[in-house]
Amino acid sequence: MDMKTIYLAIVLAPLAGAVIAGLSGRAIGRAGAHWVTIIGVGVSTVLSLYAYKRMMLDGGPVFNETIYRWLSTGSLTLEVGFLVDPLSVTMMAVVSFVSWLIHIYTIGYMHDDPGYQRFFSFISLFTFSMLMLVMANNFLQLFFGWEGVGLVSYLLIGFWFKRESAIFAGLKAFLVNRVGDFGFLIGIAAILMYFGDLGYSSVFQQAPSMAGETISILDGTEWSLMSFICICLFIGAMGKSAQVPLHVWLPDSMEGPTPISALIHAATMVTAGIFMVARMSPLYELSETALSLMLVIGAVTAFFMGVLGLVQNDIKRVVAYSTLSQLGYMTVALGASAYAAAIFHLVTHAFFKALLFLAAGSVIIALHHEQDMRRMGGVYRYMPITWFTCLIASLASIGFPGFAGFYSKDSIIEAVHHSQLWGADFAYVAVLSCVLITALYSFRMFFMTFHGRERMDTETWKHLHESPAVVTVPLAVLAVPSLVIGAMLVGPMLFEGYYQSAIYVAPQHDVLAQIGAGYHGVLGFTLHAFGSAPVYLALAGVGLAWLGYIKYPDIPGKLAERFSLPYTILMRKYGFDELYQWLFAGGARGTGRLLWQVGDEQVIDGALVNGTAAGVRWLSGLVRTLQSGYLYDYAFAMIIGLLLLLALFLRQFF
C-alpha cells in the first residue's frame, strides 16, 4: 500500500463508521454501531501509529499531495489534499488514539442511553473532522475541518436534546465559535488576496517577502499585513481553543455526556487552535504584535480561568476550567515562539486530561449521575482503580516532577522566562502563580471526591462499586502515557529537531534553543526542577488543598463568607455570560425588531409602498379635477401645452 492510500484510509475509516452508524443505526443495532465505529477509528489509530513510526523513527519522507480538485475559478484552483509531516503525524496519532479509547469507554458510559447509535456516529464524525483539520495542506480544508469540528461539537453538547440547558449550550458554543470563525475567514481572505493561493507551501514560501507589506484598514493608518493576518487567524483560534473573551462556551459544553467532554477538551477540538497557530509558525514569526497578543491573552486565560476552577462544585466544571487554564498555557507558549513546547503540552495534556475526564466520568456513573462534589467524598475505598488513575492524572496536571505535565509545563514556564517579547514578563508572572492555583483546584477536586466523609445518600453509597472493565481499561491505558510520555518526549520533542521543517522559529525568538543549551537529559531536567519555584508552588497548592478540604474542611466556607464580594464575582464567572447575553443576544434581537417593525413595516411598507398607493390616489384625484368637463379647463390646458411646445420649438433658434 502506498502512503496516499494509507492516509486516505486514516481519514475515511472514521467517516465510513460514522455514516454507517448514523444512517443504518436501527438496522445494525447497538452493538453493530459500536463495532463499526470502533473498527473505523481503530483502523485510523493503527495506521496513524504506523505513519508515525515510519516518519519519526524510520525517517520517512514528508507527504504533501493533492487528493482532488475542489473547484477552479479564474486563476485560483482550490484543492483537497494532505500534508503529513512531523507536526501533523503527531497530532494524527494523538487524536486517533485518544478517540479510539473514548469510543471504547463510551460503550460503558452510554450503555442505557436511547441515542446510543447516534452518539457513536457523532464521535466518529468528530474524529474524521479533526483528522481532516490536522492533515490539511491548505486553508480551505483547514477551514472545512475547523467548522466540521464545530458542527459535531454543537451536536454533541446538545446531544441530550430534551434538556433546555444542553441545547442552549450547544447553540452558544456554535455561535461563539462562529465569532472566532469570522476572524478566521477574514484572515483567509487576506491571505488569498496577498499570496494569491491558499496552499500552505506556497503561502509559507512567500511569507518572508511579505514581512514588510502593509494593509490599510482605516483610512490613513497602515497595518502590518502579517500582523493583520496572524491576529485574524488567532481570533479563530480564540474561539476554538476557548481563550478569553471567547471562552464562555467551554464551561457550558459540560452539558454533553462525559466522554464528549473528554474528547472535545482533551484531544481534539480545543487543541485545534493551538495546532493551527503552530502550523502557521512561518507566518506568526513575522509578527511580534501577534506573538505579544497571544502571550497576554494566554496568560489572562491561564490565570483567571484557573481561579474560577477554585470555586466550582460540579466535578466536570472543575476539569473544564482546568482545561481553559491549560489552554492558556499553550497559548502563552505559542506567544513565546515555543511552538514545540505548546504542542508538547498539547500532547501530554491530551492524555492526562482525557484521563481526568474519564476518571470523573467513572465516579459520576458510580454515583448515579451525580456531579456535585459536595455530595461525594470517601470514594477511594470503593473505586481503587479510578482513584489511583485520577491521582496520576492530577499529579500530571499540576506538573509534579516525573509526571507528564511536569515536563511540558516547566518548559513553557522556562520558555516564557527567556522570551524578550512585549508581554512576556506579565505572562511569566501569570503562569508561575497559576502553578499554585492549578495544584490547589486539582487537589481540591481530588480530596473532595475521593477522600473525607462520604456525603452521598445511603442508597447510592450502598451500591458504590468500581466501574466495569470498559471504563477501567481505558483509564489504565491512559494512565501509562500520563505517567511516562513527558519524560519520553521532552528531549526529542523540544530539543532535538523533532519537527524538522514543520515548525519555523526565527533565530531571535528561539527560546527553546536557549533552554536546550542547558539541557542534559531527562534526569537533569527533572532534578533541576527542585531548584526552581514551580515545584514548590505546586507542593504548596497541594498542601493548601489538604488543609482546606481534609484537615479543616470548614475553612473554605468561612473564607467565602468573609470575602463574599470576590466570591460572588467568581461564582458569576466575572459576569461574562450575563454581559454577552444582554449585549449580543439581547442587542441582536432588539436590532432585529427595530429593523423589522420600524424599517420594514413602517417605513418601507407603510410610508413607501402604501405611500405610493396614496400618492397615486392623490395624483388621480388631481387628474380627475382636470377632466372637469368644463370647456374652459380644457382650453386652459391647451394654451399651456401650446406655450410649452412653442417654447421648445423656439429654443432651436437661440
Partner: protein
C-alpha cells in the same frame, strides 16, 4: 456529438404540453394525473441532463441554438440557446420541479390544475433561461407570472389575495421598465437578439438609464433591499410547492437578468453604479439577517433568510470591476461572478429544502408558528436529521453547497475592501444564529404539546424529496467543480465584456 433533437424546445414545450394534458384529463382522473405529471417532470429532467451531456465546456458561445423567424416585421425571432449561465439554472429548474411534483402528490384541492400549473411554469422558466431573443425572453418572463399568480391565489393561505396582488404589482411594475429599455435598445440596434445588444455601443447616460430600468425589474425579483417586502408575504401565503419554486427558481430570475442584460449591455453603468449595488447587497445581508432573527413564523424567517443570502449573489456580481480598478488584479471578477452564481444554485436547493421541511410540518400541525412547535426530534427523528443538514447548509457550513458561494464572494469582496468582507461575513454569525435558533426552538427540546406528540415521521414520499436534496447539498458542497467547469468560459467572457467600455465605441 450532437443529437438532432431540438433539446431546448423540448425543455420548454414538453412540460407546457404536459401541463395542458393534465388540465384536459381533469381532477376526475387524479391518480393518472399525478403519475403523468411525475413522468413529464422526470422526462424533462432527463432532457436537461441530455443537454448537459451535449454541452461543450470549452466555449462561451451559445450552444444547442434553435432559430426560426417569428415576427419578421420587427426582427423578432424564436431564438433559443444556452451558455454556462443558463444551463445550471435549467438543471436546477427541472430538478426542483420533479421534487415539487412529488411534494404535491397529496394536494386534494384541484390536483390536476395544481400540478399543471407547476409543469407549465417549468416550461416557461426554462424558456426564460434559454431565450436569446429579448422579446421571446420578455414573453416567457411575463407569462411565468400567471401560473405563479394562480398558485398563490388559488391554493394559498387566508391572506392570499393581498399577497398575490402585492406580488403581481411589484414584479409587473418592475418588468414594465425593462420592456421600455428593451424597446429603446431595439431602436438603437435594430435587433432583439440579446447578443447583438451586448455588442451595442451606448453613451454613459443611456447606459445608466437602461441599467436603472433593468434594476427596477431585476431587483424586485432577487429581491434586493428595499423592494423585498413582497417576498415574506408571498411565501407565507403560498402553498408549499409555490414557496419552493418561488425561492428556488423565481428569485434566480433577477440574478440571471443581471448576468444576461445589465452587466453586458450596460457595462459602464454597471461599474459606475457598482457602489450602489454593493451597498444595497450589504444592507440585504446584514439588515435582513437581523430581521430574520426575530421572526415568529417559520416561512417568514426562511423568506428573510433568502433575501439575506441573495445579497451574496448581487454582491458577487458587482464586486469584480471595482476590485479590478482598486487593485489592478482581475482575480475578484470571475470569482465574484462564479461565487454569486454558485450561491444561486445552492440557495435553490437549500431554501427549497427548508420550505419543504416547513411544508412537512405544516401538513401535520397546520401551523407555521415557531411557538407551536418544540421537540419535533422526539417524534420525527429522521426528519430532524435531514432538517439539521439543511439548517447547517443554510448557515454556510463547509462541506455543504451553502458554503461555496459565500466563501468565494467573501474572498472576492476582500479584494475591494476588508470592510465589505467584514459586512458580508456577518452572515457567518447571523445566518447561524437565526437558522439554528429556529431549529432549536422547533426541533429540539422536550415534546411541547399534543400536536407534536402526535407527529408521524416522514413517509417514504417525503423522505425521497428531502433525501434527494440532501444528496445535492452535500455533493455540490464536497465537489462543486462540475458547476464551475460548466460556467467558467461564460463567466470569463462576461467579465471581459464588463471590463471593456462601450462608451463611444
Amino acid at each position: 456529438m450532437g443529437t438532432s433533437l431540438p433539446l431546448l424546445s423540448l425543455l420548454v414545450w414538453v412540460p407546457v404540453l404536459g401541463g395542458v394534458t393534465l388540465l384536459w384529463l381533469g381532477d376526475a382522473r387524479a391518480p393518472a394525473v399525478r403519475r403523468l405529471a411525475l413522468a413529464v417532470s422526470i422526462v424533462t429532467f432527463a432532457l436537461s441532463l441530455v443537454a448537459y451531456r451535449e454541452f461543450q465546456l470549452d466555449t462561451y458561445e451559445m450552444q444547442l441554438q434553435e432559430f426560426s423567424v417569428w415576427i419578421p416585421a420587427f426582427n423578432i425571432n424564436y431564438h433559443l440557446g444556452i451558455d454556462g449561465i443558463a444551463l445550471p439554472l435549467i438543471l436546477l429548474t427541472t430538478f426542483m420541479t420533479v421534487l415539487v411534483v412529488i411534494a404535491g402528490w397529496d394536494v386534494e384541492q384541484r390536483p390536476s390544475q395544481y400540478l399543471a400549473a407547476f409543469l407549465i411554469l417549468e416550461g416557461l422558466m426554462n424558456g426564460v433561461f434559454a431565450s436569446v431573443d429579448a422579446i421571446l425572453f420578455y414573453f416567457f418572463w411575463e407569462a411565468m407570472l400567471i401560473p405563479m399568480f394562480l398558485i398563490i391565489g388559488v391554493w394559498g393561505g387566508p391572506r392570499r389575495v393581498y399577497a398575490t396582488i402585492k406580488f403581481f404589482l411589484y414584479t409587473f411594475l418592475g418588468s414594465v421598465f425593462m420592456l421600455v429599455a428593451l424597446l429603446y435598445l431595439y431602436g438603437q440596434a435594430g435587433s432583439f437578439n440579446i447578443l447583438d445588444l451586448h455588442r451595442l455601443p451606448l453613451p454613459l447616460l443611456a447606459q445608466e438609464l437602461i441599467f436603472v430600468a433593468f434594476l427596477l425589474a431585476f431587483s424586485v425579483k432577487v429581491p434586493m433591499w428595499p423592494v423585498h417586502t413582497w417576498l415574506p408575504d408571498a411565501h407565507v401565503e403560498a402553498p408549499t410547492g409555490g414557496s419552493v419554486i418561488l425561492a428556488a427558481i423565481l428569485l434566480k430570475m433577477g440574478g440571471y437578468g443581471f448576468l444576461r442584460f445589465s452587466l453586458p449591455i450596460a457595462p459602464d453603468a454597471s461599474v459606475a453604479l457598482a457602489n450602489l449595488m454593493i451597498v444595497l447587497s450589504l444592507i440585504a445581508i446584514a439588515y435582513i439577517g437581523f430581521v430574520a432573527l426575530v421572526q415568529l413564523d417559520m416561512k417568514k424567517l426562511i423568506a428573510y433568510s433568502s433575501i439575506s443570502h441573495m445579497g451574496f449573489v448581487t454582491l458577487g456580481f458587482f464586486i469584480g470591476v471595482p476590485a479590478l480598478l482598486a487593485t489592478g488584479r482581475p482575480d475578484a471578477g470571475v470569482m465574484g461572478l462564479e461565487g454569486g452564481m454558485m450561491q444561486m444554485i445552492s440557495h435553490g436547493f437549500i431554501s427549497g429544502a427548508l420550505f419543504l421541511c416547513v411544508g412537512v410540518m405544516y401538513d401535520r400541525v397546520h401551523s407555521r408558528e415557531i411557538a407551536d412547535y418544540g421537540g419535533v426530534a422526539n417524534t420525527m427523528p429522521k426528519f430532524a436529521a435531514l432538517m439539521m443538514l439543511f439548517a447547517m447548509a443554510n448557515s454556510g457550513l463547509p462541506g455543504t453547497s451553502g458554503f461555496v458561494g459565500e466563501f468565494l464572494v467573501i474572498l472576492a469582496s476582500f479584494q475591494l475592501s476588508p470592510w465589505i468582507a467584514f459586512g458580508a461575513a456577518t452572515i457567518l454569525i447571523l445566518g447561524a444564529a437565526y437558522t439554528l435558533w429556529m431549529y432549536k426552538r422547533v426541533v429540539f427540546g422536550d415534546v411541547a404539546n399534543d400536536a407534536v406528540a402526535a407527529l408521524q415521521d416522514v413517509n417514504a414520499r417525503e423522505f425521497v424529496f428531502l433525501a434527494l436534496l440532501a444528496v445535492a447539498v452535500l455533493a455540490f458542497g464536497l465537489w462543486p467543480a462540475p458547476i464551475f467547469d460548466v460556467m467558467h468560459p461564460t463567466m470569463e467572457h462576461l467579465f471581459e465584456q464588463v471590463t471593456i467600455s462601450k462608451v463611444g465605441g
